[in-house]
């Protein structure tokens, strides 16, 4: 069955283009140009995923986001917006958005994010080792290999890596990671978290490649996905 995607976008050219891209990639798409219309469609049609622009003519996009979240906790919502301030990104992510794409973007990126958001969890199967390029993680034995050489991770680094892999391709905010790892908020601008992440990133980056962990300063981290 084809997945139905609700596109909330008030610009004709972009919504037309998105419609084209989605349909030619095997999705069904429904376009809504207003916030209220989008909420109505969301309730009546129950789409599998929402692409939401924050700048809408009638409602604030954040308002639309929170109303959709209220009626369905699990439908993935990807924000597609020209607003690029870190605070706004973080606010949207912490208020239930699954991902955030800044305009302008290319279609490859968009489709990858959609795939990630639609992938049904739980993932990965922890019985099976996780393999990404030169990285291999054995969750059962708690062992990590880079180019077949074992690398040593501290327990916290291993926990970080597991969470990132669990949500591969999705941006995870500092706040989310902080709460998952330590279970409480901090007021130190997430300094320890960032130090752990920097050290993990160094350990699992092969010398010839770009890092597997993507950093978004002021927002969070994302495990690369091709």
């Amino acid at each position: 069955m084809n997945e139905k995607i609700l596109v909330v976008e008030d610009d004709h050219a972009i919504s037309h283009f998105l419609d084209l891209v989605l349909r030619s990639n095997g999705y069904l798409s429904v376009i809504s140009e207003t916030g209220l219309g989008a909420i109505k469609t969301f309730l009546s049609e129950g789409p599998s995923l929402v692409l939401l622009d924050l700048g809408l003519p009638d409602l604030d996009g954040m308002e639309v986001l929170s109303r959709m979240r209220k009626s369905s906790a699990s439908t993935p919502i990807i924000i597609v917006s020209a607003r690029e301030k870190e605070d706004e990104k973080v606010a949207a992510l912490d208020h239930g958005a699954d991902d955030y794409l800044t305009k302008p973007f290319n279609t490859g990126e968009l489709l990858a994010r959609i795939r990630v958001a639609l992938r049904h969890r739980p993932f990965p199967d922890k019985e099976q080792p996780f393999i990404y390029r030169q990285l291999k993680v054995d969750f059962v034995k708690r062992m990590v290999f880079l180019s077949d050489e074992e690398i040593h991770l501290t327990p916290i680094e291993f926990k970080f890596l597991s969470i990132l892999i669990e949500q591969q391709g999705k941006v995870l905010t500092h706040k989310f990671l902080q709460e998952r790892i330590w279970g409480y908020e901090t007021s130190d601008d997430y300094q320890s978290l960032r130090v752990f992440m920097a050290s993990l990133r160094k350990k699992i980056t092969p010398p010839t490649e770009e890092s597997y962990i993507l950093t978004e300063v002021g927002v969070g981290y994302r495990f690369r996905e091709d």
């Binding site: 690029e84 870190e86 302008p104 290319n106 601008d189 300094q191 960032r194 130090v195 992440m197 920097a198 990133r201 160094k202 770009e210 890092s211 962990i213 993507l214 950093t215 978004e216 300063v217 002021g218």
Partner: protein
């Protein structure tokens, strides 16, 4: 209190002294056989002296009575008694009284006149000083403060207040004005007239209010409390008038100067904006032209083009959109830096994070170039606006990719040095020409002005880097290195280390 007692004692001593000297002199002259009527003149002299020296009316009065009694006692027959034989003396004594009264009156009138004149001179001088002073240094606040101190000096501290139109909180007193007073104040300012006790408006109000109104607008008013006093005297009113006039004309002058400055700044900004817009539209039009012609051509001749040409055109279009998108990022950064009236928002960022984000995403543009990223050994923190610093690094990396030969090596690194964090982007791809060196990091506005007509957009990125680093109180530099290429580095103050 003590001072007054001392003054009284001194005056008394003066009176007694004058009378004593006069009596002694009279005895001497009497011995020489002078006629007693003449001796009376000596007492007149003494009274004149007392009138001039002492300040109160009773001293000369008492002295003249005493003189009559002493003269009568010592010098009229029968001597050493208050009896008078010759009736002529009655007349002499009466004349003596009258003359001394006249002397006294004339002297005190002269004295009052002198005092008044001296007071006027003082006021005139202080008006003069005030206007000179205000002409020199005079923010509106200065004017109000000087005016207040001048008022306190002449009318007594605590009795005077200044109300400013711009300031809803009373200047001279802490409590808000009572209803009637506040109504009278606005009346005075609106009608531009003195109001309060002694005038035709609000005569029952125990205040005298004088408006501070300039040529173009009202500035406020001066109020003087008359709770324990009758109405203002004429000269007090005219002094107040002069003070207020000086203050309001100084404020007028300020207003005019501020307006002038604002207009000239506006003109300058307008000019800058025009030049900027022209250069920017040029920068946008170039990639846009490529997009338009490319996509138009593709649309019109799709069927006749072979597969490879189509791919070429599409890849060009894609490149141009990236260029345009980078350009917009730079523009946004520029507005963030230049429009920040306050300082830009900063957070503590980990140097590793900054390097990681800025060096990612260049894969498609790498071609045969190689890039290495070396992060510092320790965990270094800098206080910065992460987005903007990443923009600087990305501009430097992007420049290195654009301006170096194929297969050049690009090293991105960062390290700590003397309390600063140095970010370094170096390559071995040919280096900078002399002209390029000269124009590096030129201030953006200067850049726009200088190149207003033949501006090509090269260098916009670097001048934006310079503005961003400057806004972080850091330094940026570029030079040729010994690898046969260019090195660009900037430093930001270190704000923390975690080993």
């Amino acid at each position: 209190m003590k001072k007054r007692l001392l003054e009284t004692l001194l005056d008394l001593a003066l009176c007694l002294g004058a009378l004593g000297v006069a009596t002694g002199l009279a005895f001497g002259l009497d011995d020489l056989g002078l006629r007693p009527e003449n001796l009376l003149l000596i007492y007149l002299l003494a009274i004149l002296a007392v009138t001039i020296v002492t300040k109160r009316i009773y001293y000369p009065l008492a002295c003249s009575v005493a003189s009559v009694l002493i003269f009568n006692f010592f010098f009229t027959t029968p001597r050493l008694s208050f009896m008078i034989e010759d009736p002529n003396y009655y007349i002499s004594l009466a004349i003596f009284f009258v003359v001394s009264a006249v002397i006294f009156t004339i002297t005190s009138l002269t004295r009052k006149e002198t005092e008044r004149r001296r007071g006027n001179e003082r006021k005139l001088e202080s008006l003069n000083n005030l206007s000179n002073e205000l002409l020199q240094h005079s923010s509106p606040n200065d004017v109000f403060q000087r005016l207040q101190s001048e008022l306190d000096h002449y009318y007594g501290g605590g009795r005077c207040f200044i109300e400013k139109t711009e300031d809803p909180i009373p200047f001279g007193q802490n409590e808000p004005l009572s209803g009637a007073l506040s109504k009278a104040c606005s009346f005075a300012v609106n009608e531009n007239r003195p109001v309060g006790k002694g005038t035709a408006f609000y005569p029952n109000l125990p205040y005298f209010l004088y408006p501070l109104v300039g040529e173009s607008k009202p500035y406020g008013l001066v109020g003087i409390s008359l709770l324990k006093q009758k109405e203002m005297k004429n000269d007090e009113v005219s002094f107040l008038f002069s003070l207020c006039h000086i203050a309001s004309s100084t404020l007028d002058k300020n207003e005019v100067m501020a307006e002038k400055e604002r207009v000239s700044l506006e003109v300058q900004n307008e000019k800058f904006k025009t030049v900027l817009l022209r250069s920017l539209s040029h920068d946008i039009k170039t990639p846009l032209t490529a997009l338009q012609t490319g996509s138009g051509f593709l649309l019109d001749s799709y069927a006749t083009l072979d597969e490879a040409s189509r791919r070429d055109i599409i890849s060009d279009i894609s490149q141009e959109t990236i260029r345009l998108s980078d350009f917009v990022d730079n523009l946004l950064s520029l507005t963030r830096v230049t429009s920040a009236t306050k300082s830009i928002p900063m957070k503590k960022e980990l140097v590793d994070d900054l390097l990681a984000e800025s060096s990612s995403g260049f894969k498609d543009r790498m071609g045969l170039h190689k890039m290495t990223v070396t992060s510092p050994k320790e965990s270094l923190y800098v206080s910065c606006n992460g987005k903007l610093i990443i923009q600087v690094l990305r501009n430097l990396i992007s420049n290195a990719l654009t301006h170096t030969k194929e297969s050049a090596l690009i090293n991105v690194s960062s390290y700590e040095k003397d309390g600063n964090v140095i970010f370094l982007v170096e390559d071995d791809g040919g280096g900078l020409t002399e002209e390029a060196k000269r124009d590096l990091f030129k201030d953006f506005s200067a850049f726009v002005k200088e190149k207003s007509d033949k501006y090509s957009g090269n260098g916009l990125g670097l001048s934006i880097c310079a503005s961003i680093v400057k806004a972080h109180h850091g330094t940026i530099e570029g030079h040729n290195n010994d690898m046969g290429g260019a090195s660009f580095s900037f430093s930001l103050p270190l704000s923390g280390v975690k080993k």
